[in-house]
Amino acid sequence: MLEFSELASDLETMRSNLVGINERLQQEINDHQAAQAQRGVLEDQLRHSQRLESIGTFAGGVAHEVNNILLPMIIFTDIVLEDLPQDSPVRDYVQRIRRLANRAQGLSEQILTFSHEGAERELELAEIGPVVEEALTLVRALVPATIDIRTKIDGDCGKVMCNTTQLQQLVVNLCSNAYKAVAKGGNYIGVDLDAFQADQEFTSEHPQLNPGNYVRLSVSDDGIGMDTPIKERIFEPFFTGGRIGEGTGLGLAVVHGIATEHGGEIVVDSEPGVGSILHIYFPVAKTRIMS
């Protein structure tokens, strides 16, 4: 009888040990799976950045060659215009050539902005709120009144090192992109600016960001939305998602270039038929943290 009781006790001990081991194993499997998932996200992120970087290098090289061609084209055209009689029947054509050269120069500058090789711009410590507000006045003039523009700007969300002209261009380009999506089925464009603290949990989901304080600019819409293959390529220059007649396809490439130059990171969330939201996280300037 005693023997049977001891055996039962031993079996119970073994059972509880096995339960413990099983729990630890399950925990290890979960940790391993989580680490693998994070590694997968990081690898995707790395592939994406490398792809954009090599496209940027290639595009920057092409822009260099184009600029070498444009220089004599612009100078010779100006010389022809100088010498051509005012009433010449071909004057209009030559002026058109000059305007087209200007357009090509503009494109080249946008490509260089995407590949972070544009003219060096000075960054200053500034509140983003007023910059976004100013850009929104331009957006309101560009977007039809039938589209509702909902804004929520936190005026005290922190200062960042920025170039205000470039930031305005970034806001206009983001809103212009949102408008294209809304024009095909949607009602509103949302522009939000707030302070955001990235904690460990958030950065493990978005490993491109480090924990810390950010100013978050979010541009949302309830337009057509994007599926994953399109979402992965929207920052590539000249990518229009197969849609014809929607501009050069440089708008979001320029957004990517400007955000990167400002040390910002972009997070895209989108669903076909529901809408999109693009968040840009600008690191808060260190002076604010110190103060």
Partner: protein, 136 residues
């Protein structure tokens, strides 16, 4: 009359710059390489050199330091086209024009211009340097 030497490996660029400078009243000569430009400078010293940065053979930064050593009074304008530079234009480690223009400044260029620019910008830069020379 202000005398200028243009150094650029592209004939169209040389011709365009030469024409616009002559029209503005400057005396402009042109060379297709750094060595050719230095030879020209030795034969007839000039007030100003406009040089491209990336060229086959001697690159613009080396030309600038050579001119600085041999002709310290000559003013220099360095020009380049933005983006990554040939011949490594499409390679991942291509050197950016920005870096080359910065090196050109360190080597002794008085002014740097990024292509494309129009004739007015160039003439203005040349006139400013010529005025500085007169003030000195």
């Amino acid at each position: 009359m202000v005398r200028i030497i243009i150094i650029d490996d592209e004939q169209d660029v040389r011709d365009a710059l030469q024409e616009v400078l002559k029209r503005a009243g400057f005396e402009a000569d042109a060379a297709a390489s750094g060595n050719e430009g230095l030879e020209l400078l030795r034969k007839s010293p000039s007030d100003l050199v406009i040089t491209d940065i990336i060229m086959p053979g001697k690159d613009g930064v080396k030309i600038i330091s050579d001119i600085r050593a041999e002709f310290p009074e000559t003013r220099i304008i360095a020009i380049s086209g933005g983006g990554n530079v040939a011949p490594l234009a499409y390679e991942p480690n291509a050197i950016k024009t920005e870096a080359y223009l910065a090196s050109a400044s360190v080597a002794g260029a008085d002014v740097t211009l990024t292509k494309p620019f129009d004739g007015k910008e160039l003439v203005q830069a040349v006139q400013d340097l010529a005025n500085d020379n007169q003030a000195d």
